[in-house]
Subunit: 361 residues, 2 copies
């Protein structure tokens, strides 16, 4: 397989993606929003969660699993919380709107927390957390996902790669933005190795019977991703705890499909026969910094935190200590200017999408 | 060194510990509370955080770093948040009281979140999170701690083992209680290997210059603990992100000493010369389950979650998939009946404490 790429401008990909979402029946503003969230992944270098997924969303729409006309509906609330029915909407659109509700609650009572059910894949977790930053709030974002990860001691896949993102504002320094899967390695990293026909490092996957494996194709052959920590000696139970926490806050608290009942992302796999909830679940939070401490005071200490960590003595001179969000921000700067490189398989896939929906790519 | 143990009854250790705290000047009720929190660690098998620490607390008190007469003080609040000055109180007493404030806020507006500064070591994170369970709330507990962990790429220790605990109620099943350090292995596990003169597994520690190491004594020789994930290939940056998040929510948000400025637990090390905040920080939260979804409905789905995960096909028949909290609960059952085994070094240390404070052990 090839790994050659062609570079496309942000605006070309955005306009194309927006047009596709409009053809699917999304309103103009929802299509723009979905497209912006999706492209934010490509801009930030999280290629696995960007336009490469467009054809996947399209197939979910084709089988009736995404409702482009959905409006999110608060089914229960308190001053600081809400449970939201996403009505089978697209997570890319659902999550920013739900985050808005969390932030309005934070405006009123200091913090806001929403748990959402009946949703679909919401793109990169970090996008939604970062919505809090301009308001001097701390943003938190989690989602459950199709089961690919085996808990410690399990042969079976029981959890998604269930990401956690947290965005924290600073003053003069760029914000602290952590956004990571609770598996040892996300599926996107496996795909890169698959294309190059390389083995994985130890501790990423296990084989079909739970045996140690470095087979980049292990997932397709019935294996599983491992939780953060990789093995019992290195505390894989902690990664399992984190993935479980995300699953429970996102899906059990909201009423979505949890654990092995989380709906698969791919349209060709059937939905669970005995559902325990509806769709995927997300959990989003916003905390006003000044609900604790004056915002300027906090942000200037964040500057100090960031500068001190950046100045930590590195092991290797050429590899300084990074602040969460540094890498993605650097890639974004470059791609904003130079465009977004797509693998041939990805842009050919987009061409197909364009043909099917009669939109020029 | 010896690893032989002697077993003591819970009530003997509790009465002794309470008497010591009273001698230090704590009120009767605060001494009882501190003792209960401390002993909960021994009961649950987290021996590193139980009575083995009593002499350490005593030394902090001797150098004037713990104020037994402290009353926690809300310095700022909103309906769902509070920033709390612990006035150099003992974390064992501060945290349950602060959790009470979080739960009162949750009672009122759905959730409550408190960030606490000017505190000291608070024992096991899980104790405070579990206070939420009888009220059908989800409890969350984090604390920063003395810097022992090197972020990814760093030679320097910049973060504590900064634990995260979350307690989630179920109906017929016992609750889900995760409680874990964000390092690959907690310091207590290293101490066990030190006593047995054994090397560590790979991925627990690094040497003085950041080199790979399996030396159980690495910390004393200028090395550092590694974040959960262990190395860059297995995503140590995620453990670094988690430890950093705990540090920021507990200490930057509250006004405590953060990162390398967190005060050392041991009394013989000096406090940072250029403090950026006061004492240690904690972050505690409570979310009323029924602020999202009827509590009975949620708890019966938690039962289902727990049963399904327990039933996951294990890799090895003899090692079933566990639910977070299982191991600690089993140990607690046994130790409630049979007593608490203490290493000779620990009970001799308690004898010394008793002599010094004129309390019979």
């Amino acid at each position: 397989m090839t790994t050659s790429t062609t570079t496309f401008s942000y605006s070309q990909l955005r306009d194309f993606t927006t047009a596709i979402f409009e053809r699917m029946g999304f309103s103009v503003s929802d299509a723009h929003l979905a497209s912006e969230v999706l492209l934010s992944a490509d801009l930030r270098g999280v290629d696995s969660h960007g336009v490469a997924r467009l054809s996947g969303y399209l197939r979910l729409w084709e089988v009736g699993r995404i409702n482009p006309k959905a409006e999110i509906k608060i089914v229960h609330q308190t001053p600081s919380t809400a449970r939201i029915d996403a009505q089978a909407g697209l997570g890319l659109v659902v999550a920013p709107k739900a985050m808005q509700i969390a932030m309005e609650k934070a405006e009123q009572v200091g913090t806001g927390w929403v748990s959402i059910y009946n949703s679909n894949h919401y793109g990169i977790a970090g996008y939604h957390a970062m919505l809090a930053l301009p308001k001097d709030m701390i943003g938190i974002s989690m989602t459950n996902a199709s089961p690919l990860v085996a808990p410690t001691h399990s042969q079976e896949r029981m959890l998604g790669t269930n990401p956690i993102a947290i965005a924290i504002p600073a003053a003069e320094e760029p914000p602290f933005v952590a956004d990571f899967a609770t598996a040892a390695a996300a599926n996107g990293k496996l795909e890169i190795l698959q294309r190059k026909n390389l083995p994985t490092p130890e501790g990423w996957v296990q084989g079909k019977s739970g045996e140690t494996s470095t087979n980049a194709h292990a997932l397709k052959e019935g294996g599983a991703l491992l939780p953060l920590g990789s093995d019992t000696l290195r505390s894989s139970h902690k990664g399992y705890c984190l993935g479980a926490m995300v699953d429970i806050l996102s899906a059990v608290l909201s009423g979505a499909g949890y654990g092995p009942w989380a709906p698969p992302f791919v349209s060709f796999l059937p939905l669970p026969a005995d559902p325990v909830g509806e769709g995927l679940g997300h959990f989003l939070g916003a905390m006003r910094v000044d609900a604790f401490r004056p915002a300027q005071e906090f942000k200037s200490h964040m500057d100090n935190w960031i500068r001190r960590f950046r100045a930590a003595t590195p092991i290797t001179e050429s590899e300084p200590v990074l602040i969460p969000g540094d890498i993605e921000r650097e890639i974004e700067k470059i791609r904003q200017k130079q465009g977004i490189p797509l693998l041939e398989s990805v842009w050919k896939d987009l061409e197909e999408v364009g043909k099917k929906m009669q939109v020029k790519f």
